[in-house]
């Protein structure tokens, strides 16, 4: 657990990439689109940034390669990525951290308005 805590906080693109993979495996372009959607169009990843992050996450063992559940039109198997067990744990830990942060901020906001 301490090991996971030492990895937090995650940078926003990392968090969004992990979040985009939480429903299941996705290929590179689907991750890019999901990150854009999840951030309401605020975080737009370039291919270089995306794959740099994917390489780092692979090295860290937070994601692994998987078979793409949606093959493209040519029917050729595309490379996809999915969360590993440590990846799920890190994502869950970051969500918990953010929830706590939001709770503290909301409590403070309520106090300020009273």
């Amino acid at each position: 657990m301490d090991d996971i805590q030492s990895q937090l906080p995650l940078r926003e693109p990392t968090f969004l990439i992990l979040l985009s993979l939480s429903p299941g495996p996705r290929h590179g372009y689907a991750i890019m689109k999901a990150v854009e959607d999840l951030s309401d169009g605020r975080v737009l990843l370039s291919t270089g940034t995306l794959y740099g992050a994917l390489q780092r996450l692979l090295d860290q063992g937070w994601i692994r390669r998987a078979v793409d559940p949606q093959p493209n039109d040519s029917g050729r198997e595309r490379k996809a990525y999915e969360l590993t067990e440590p990846g799920h744990k890190v994502l869950a830990a970051e969500v918990t951290r953010l929830e706590k942060l939001v709770r503290v901020a909301q409590a403070q906001a309520i106090r300020d308005t009273q």
Partner: protein, 388 residues
Amino acid sequence: MDAERKFTRLYGWLLGFYPAGFREEFGEELQEVFAAALQESRQSGRGQRWQVLWRELRDWPGAVLQAHRRRRRGNMVPNETIPEKPLPLVEWLAALVLFVLPIASLIVGSAASLPQWFVLPLTNLVIGGAASLPGWLEVALVLLFWGAALFSIGLALFRGLPGWSLPTFGFVLMVVLVFSLYAPFGSWIYPIFRDVYGNQLAWSMPVQAVYSGIHIFFGALSLLVAALLLVGLLGLLPFTRQVWRRVRRDWTQLSFLLYGGLVFYVVLAFDEYRGDTLWKLAIWSSLAVGAWLYLRAQSPRSRILALIGGTTAALLLMALAKWVLIPYQMWPVGYPYSPSEESRWLETGGTLLTWIFFLAILVAPMFLARLFPPADPAPATQEQPAHA
């Protein structure tokens, strides 16, 4: 559409600035994603397409630098998290042929030859040999052994000399090195050894021990240098270049190659010995177990530990065997060694020295890998198992 093709070509050119390992692993995907982004932007208008291009150009220098930084950092530590593909059964069997064949042939040979006897440790009990085998069975077994060896070599060639086949090179190198001692050019490589061989008995024991130590040291060093030259040479040939690349990515493969040399060293070490059959069986079995553990190991550290374990068990058994067996030898007068107490100490001590020097050359590739990091680190994918 033409413009898109031009942009895709330009993008492909820009990819050339990434490290080769990164390109190999992600290049195709990067191009696919870029093409998809460009295609989608076409439907949203020209402005959107320029946004995609601007984003790519803006992030490109940082992404390239980041990838190069990661490559350099990746070289500092062995990649412990490479997931391994299990070796197919047929390759397992082919990989172990080199280690199992001597055991099988020794068992058959002992059963077939009548005047075999064993000297067991502690009890010094002498056991008679078994009965000879029928002729047809001997022929069948010889064919089986040759078939297994040829099958292993053939499969290794067919599969592009994968990591599991490298010990065979070590075995051949050891044979070549040993015979080079007695070849005309051997006198140039080992000037002192050829000239003095057979005269050591005239020397005092400390001088003999030093001679033996130097001999063993140069033998181990020669094996390491020969292995490096061989792997380097394989790297120059188009058909075998991948062997060099794999060794650069996983330095334990070079150690595994050297480990194969020990299989022949057992034959050499017990040259002119009698009563060594059980010992050799135990020693070759230790080497086989080490090889088996190596092939099963998931990380470079456990791979090298498997080789160190196999080498240690084999050479300590060999030292013990010599200590026990020498008093029972009947070497002729004038032979460089005699079944004396002196020979007992020298042979046993020499084997222990061999153990130390061999461990040194087994771990040497690790230091060489740190001194000369590979240009491209191992991609952390399932496509490149370390032993394949």
